[in-house]
């Protein structure tokens, strides 16, 4: 699992309208038309955002008769958060080690 796989996830999360869609879906499943009734954007625009969110693995379509409801996948958000935390922690460790070596050159870190 490389970082390239989660770039589209962050690109999907880097938009205000998509966040309003996600928070609305966080209160329960909803269709694109239902979301269009709540948000100040067209149904077609919401549909495009939903496909972006689906390709990022953040939502899931659920057919209910003639309408297509969407469900948020909070688990995928949490797993992304775990990867983020690991990356950030790795950077912190490495920079701390560099700083320690720079300040105390005769006290190298244990291999």
């Amino acid at each position: 699992m490389t970082v390239a796989t989660l770039v589209p996830v962050f690109a999907a999360l880097g938009d205000e309208t998509r966040w309003s869609i996600l928070t609305a879906l966080g209160e329960g499943e909803a269709s694109a038309s239902a979301l269009a009734g709540r948000l100040p954007v067209t149904r077609q625009a919401i549909a495009r955002h939903l496909t972006v969110l689906q390709e990022a693995g953040l939502v899931e379509p659920v057919r209910a008769g003639r309408e297509v409801r969407y469900r948020v996948l909070g688990a995928h958000l949490s797993s992304t958060a775990r990867q983020l935390d690991r990356i950030g922690a790795a950077w912190e460790r490495r920079l701390a080690a560099i700083k320690a070596i720079a300040e105390h050159p005769d006290h190298p870190e244990q291999p």
Copy 2:
């Protein structure tokens, strides 16, 4: 602390070039010119990316004489990850509660 504050962070993380810059900085501080020597983009383009990353709180400029080195802030990445995890967990809890009520209407969840 609202979600609006972390939208620019995700927008900054939703770009391949910026990730290559961040991973390069994860190995140690570097200036825009030094990064331009490693990556297949111009120094000016990298400078713009660095300002985006700085406004998102992901990097920090460090003046070293006439050159400006940049340092990654892994701690901010980790705090963002924590907020992400909390949001995803909240969605999962709420949808699980809705599903439980729908399946067992006479067994309401404890308030």
